[in-house]
Amino acid sequence: MVLTKIEEVKISAMAAAVSNTWTALTDMETQEGPEVIAKFSKKTGVKGRYDANLNQTTADFCFAAAKAILKEKKISPDEIGILVFVTQSADYSIPATACILQERLGIPKDCIAFDVNLGCSGFSYGLNIAASMLKTSNADKALLLCGDTSAKEKNWKKKVKTSHSASMLFGDSGTATLLAKEKGAPLMHMISKTDGAGFRAIIAPYGHWRNPEPPVGESIGSRMDDIAVFNFATSEVPELVKKQMEEANTTVDNYDCLVLHQANLFILKQIAKRTGFSMDKTLVSIDEFGNTSSASIPISLVKEYGDVNENKDIRALMCGFGVGLSWSTVDAYMNVNDILPLVHTDESFDDGYDFD
């Protein structure tokens, strides 16, 4: 168990961005019949999702969320010294998308910027990375950008969505979280874990250097072993959440909310039950946004608090878990007024390259 404790670093703003295109599962063009969709919706909790426009990438959503923070919080890009972009849907194989986002956001060259390839555990891991680097550097503020466009068809030329059940589960989005040094900010507790023995549970085995070409009849997309993932999520995650409370000497009563990666509603209910949290305290965003990978924790907070205008500190126990296998918790405070309303954008970055 790797335990991280960080003092005097605060989550000082949070925002999430999606497109303007929300589609109900019942209106989705799939090969599945209405009965299958209704059953899928009931079990997973997904009612619909936001889709990226064809030219929009995760970076575009994270950019919009970051801009909203800079504008609302009246922060100059000059104040940002660290930019961490967590995604599995980067703009390019090379360079790291974080470098491009540094320039797009107007952040000065005196900046650490890099990508992190993590999925559903990405937000809690990213917070750990960004907060730790902030603590040990002379930078004043760090920007953590997390998101994925998992719902996007891998083969963009087809310009259609896939029709298997995974295409009904995932949504496209990007988020931004601002971390700042602040005297007297309460301790942030984190625990991180990894189990590479489970790497096959969620994997896109083809299209990179280990297996560049998929065999005939196989797609480049990701595969998921539902049962292995479920068993992992309902055993390791509750155990870690309980361990986090033990380390912080807390009970469920100390927290305003439990914010879990939005794997599916059935898994959320199982984890809540096994950790003693009520579903009232367990935030749910999968209904409106689907499973949004590393964006799911900030999106859940934005859904719950983004439109609430209240100067109130809340304590959240957050846990990201998934592909890797990788999982981690963060126990942190934030102010409700620092969680911004949902941002909608249809804009995309023109990098000057043609698609064809």
Binding site: K39, F40, K43, D225, D226, I227, F230, N231, T234, F266
Partner: protein
């Protein structure tokens, strides 16, 4: 727990009407036996019988009786 009670519990988990399942029924022919309902069976099996099912167990399950036979604590 009697076999009948175990079948009733499985019917409840799969959300099918009482009396639908018979021991000799092929799982592949039951519409409700899908990837999500397998997760429900995992929870039921662990909560009620303390048995942890894996993907290998599900690969070996062919009939209703294969599952019922695992419902022992």
């Amino acid at each position: 727990m009697t076999t009948e009670q175990k079948i009733a519990l499985l019917e409840e988990t799969l959300e099918v009407d009482e009396g639908t399942l018979k021991l000799e029924m092929e799982l592949a022919e039951i519409d409700e036996y899908d990837s999500m309902s397998k997760l429900g069976i995992i929870v039921m099996m662990e909560d009620e019988f303390g048995v942890k099912l894996t993907g290998d167990n599900f690969k070996q399950f062919k009939t209703v009786s294969d599952i019922v036979n695992m419902m022992n604590n």
